[in-house]
Symmetry: C2
Subunit: 423 residues, 2 copies
């Protein structure tokens, strides 16, 4: 059996973008837990930074005006004062020894570096042998940012430098987007957990933990519910329990005999009873064609195929976008991409966006597809794990001949060797 | 005061690569916590996958040989049997109805799709109207991987597909590299925490939480120790306490009056007493020039400047590499990089690798440097936070004129829009 009509991947993405927005509600977290979270509020500075005029070097604070005319041939004498007590606004020629980072004494507007000062140990005076420029070696209060400066906007995904910036501004707690609660409804009998001995017909459950890792990567929290016997009412009950922001039903997405109860559970959730049902079922994507999506009330529901490679691809290319949108993240694929030359043919069927695992070659600009076994299918988990990334073959394409330039989505390109020319 | 001789950034990196290896010792984690961790063992499959020959479609299991000559004009009759009980090795023409994913009955070597079968409801026989090819619609036991196949090697940083692969192989617990314990020794008085009211001369502590976020990003765990009064013996004592895999001393890295006690604490850790001391102090890097590194016994120690932007850059370009090496991670910068055209001049001083924050322009191939205030310094935390990435200006360069192509290390390029042509 096959789908009468497949939706395009573009239509599936458009549905998600239209139906799913960022989670309402925020939570307050301390700065130490902020990295990677998404701001739910604009953040403005509550104070100036630096909070005072400060010296950026060890030296002698002076009024620049008092040093006019100083030279080796005309050393000018200054009375030495304690930095903490000094007030250079008195009009007298006073110099105060200051350490890097400490506040400049009142009235001082320049720091003279020790190279330009003659200071005999223990002496109460110093001689300055070069004129200072006003502002020299001083960071002025508010130079970095002043009170009221917008530091970061709502929607920003926090990086380490931001944590430093907020720390410097004295901000200790911040409102961030609450992680969406994603309920994984894993359906099907004969799924075994690691450590259990497989019985005939049983397979180890690869999907649940894989999806849990993926959902957490995308900013969601997971709640795992198993429905061993695919009875429509049991599945429906678990889907409809409150408190999930998104539900992912795993397994039973196809059109086979074993899939019927899952489809019944979802198709009965019609617009006329509870505002739901499958809006899209069957996507021109391989692996992953039997994926679907819809709503139960206001909650988006995704239906993912059970076979792990299909589950992986359908999550990555379709459902993950919904999780990232709820989490306030950038909805696009969380992989860098760039163009490579394929050294071998990539074959694909017309009518499907096909996901082909590829491997980088010793030549940094080249890739090759990883052959799947059997060769008529677009992949296995082992091929996905051996890959450095993947290529998407467009719906209308039969693939790419050797020598083509193809866009590769890379799993681990985010590690950049420092170019030796830059050291 | 300035450093008599600065080490090059390349020398600092070479020291780290020579002196710091991966943490000894591993820990055992369940699959659900595996994502992002680094394998400490090779992992081979303990069983075949699929664990049995299985149908990839709903259909009728047969011996392909029995279907020879079948056509619409010559339908061949098969006795229908239960899939669970069927044994097609009997030599009789038997067909067993099977669901996608279920084991093929003994003796069957092909699944005939329902389109090629005439099956009246309730009938005990079916007619097959097209010959089947041996192997059709069957995934054979071990097609994906067989027992003993090396699935993943030690040193691998685990991705979600790997979690699926290990799940499918029935692996539940895995040995991974233990997170290195990084002790942050934060020195200096007048550091205030968020919520405290600043007093004159005091600043909010931006470094501690920022470094904690960065160390955790790089795979380490942190332990924070504050030494408010910079007394050499107190600093030394905290550094030398056991159980840290790496120590980062923050603040007091310069050559000023306030820095002396920290340098004394570190310089007294000489090779002849406990095998340590600062091997490198002063790096041709801006911001961050006063950073240093050495050992205490077998423990690497980094010394980072206190001013937050200098602390950030010195951690990112120097110390972070040590943390990533200990964590078994790729030691390179955890940012993707690629070439852009700068639309404005980037100025830099000869003799330093300078880190310039840059911002992307509406033209996706263009960037501009973010002006720091004051303009004679290479940045502020606000500029770093406003940046989309940074450029490194080589030691021997005075910068780049407008129109130059420059390598940019990007903070957030790991989000790829799907090319509409691919949908």
């Amino acid at each position: 059996m096959s789908f009468a009509r497949l939706s395009s991947l573009a239509d599936a993405i458009a549905w998600i973008d239209h139906e799913i927005g960022s989670c309402r509600g925020a939570e307050r977290v301390p700065l130490a837990e902020l990295s990677g979270r998404v701001l739910a509020q604009d953040l403005a500075a509550a104070s100036d930074n630096p909070p005072f005029d400060r010296s950026v070097a060890d030296g002698y604070a002076v009024r620049a005006h008092d040093t006019l005319g100083a030279s080796v041939y005309n050393p000018l004498t200054f009375r030495l004062a304690e930095a903490s007590a000094a007030d250079l606004a008195t009009g007298l020629a006073i110099a105060a020894k200051v350490a890097s980072g400490s506040p400049t004494p009142r009235g001082a507007d320049a720091i003279v570096l020790p190279d330009h000062v003659q200071h005999d140990p223990g002496a109460a005076i110093v001689e300055i042998i070069e004129p200072a420029i006003a502002g020299a070696n001083i960071d002025q209060r508010g130079d970095d940012f002043s009170r009221g400066t917008l530091l970061l906007r709502a929607g920003r995904r926090i990086r380490a430098a931001d944590v430093g910036l907020l720390g410097a501004a004295g901000i200790g707690f911040v409102e961030v987007v609450r992680p969406p609660r994603v309920r994984l409804v894993v359906t099907g009998a004969d799924l075994y957990q690691a450590g259990q001995k497989l019985r005939r017909g049983g397979v180890y459950d690869a999907d649940t933990t894989m999806l849990r890792s993926l959902v957490e990567r995308d900013g969601g929290s997971t709640e795992i519910r198993r429905v061993e016997h695919r009875v429509p009412s049991a599945i429906r009950e678990v889907i409809m329990e409150p408190a999930a922001d998104l539900v992912i039903v795993v397994g039973g997405s196809g059109l086979g005999a074993e899939d019927v109860p899952v489809l019944q559970a979802l198709s009965r959730l019609r617009p006329d009873d509870d505002g739901g049902g499958l809006a899209i079922h069957g996507i021109a994507l391989r692996p992953g064609a039997s994926a679907g999506m819809g709503r139960v009330g206001s909650t988006p529901v995704f239906l993912l195929p059970g076979p792990p490679i299909s589950c992986l691809r359908a999550y990555e290319l379709v459902a993950s976008r919904g999780v990232r949108r709820l989490a306030g993240r950038c909805p696009e694929l969380p992989y860098p991409s760039r163009d490579f030359m394929t050294v071998r043919k990539i074959v694909s069927s017309i009518g499907f966006v096909e996901v082909w695992p590829v491997r980088r070659m010793p030549d940094p600009d080249h890739i090759e597809p990883i052959a799947a076994a059997p060769p008529d299918r677009a992949g296995s988990l082992l091929a996905a794990a051996q890959a450095d990334g993947f290529v998407l073959v467009p719906e209308a394409s039969e693939g790419f001949p050797p020598g083509s330039r193809v866009r590769v989505y890379l799993y681990e390109d985010a590690n950049s060797r420092l170019d030796p020319n830059y050291l």
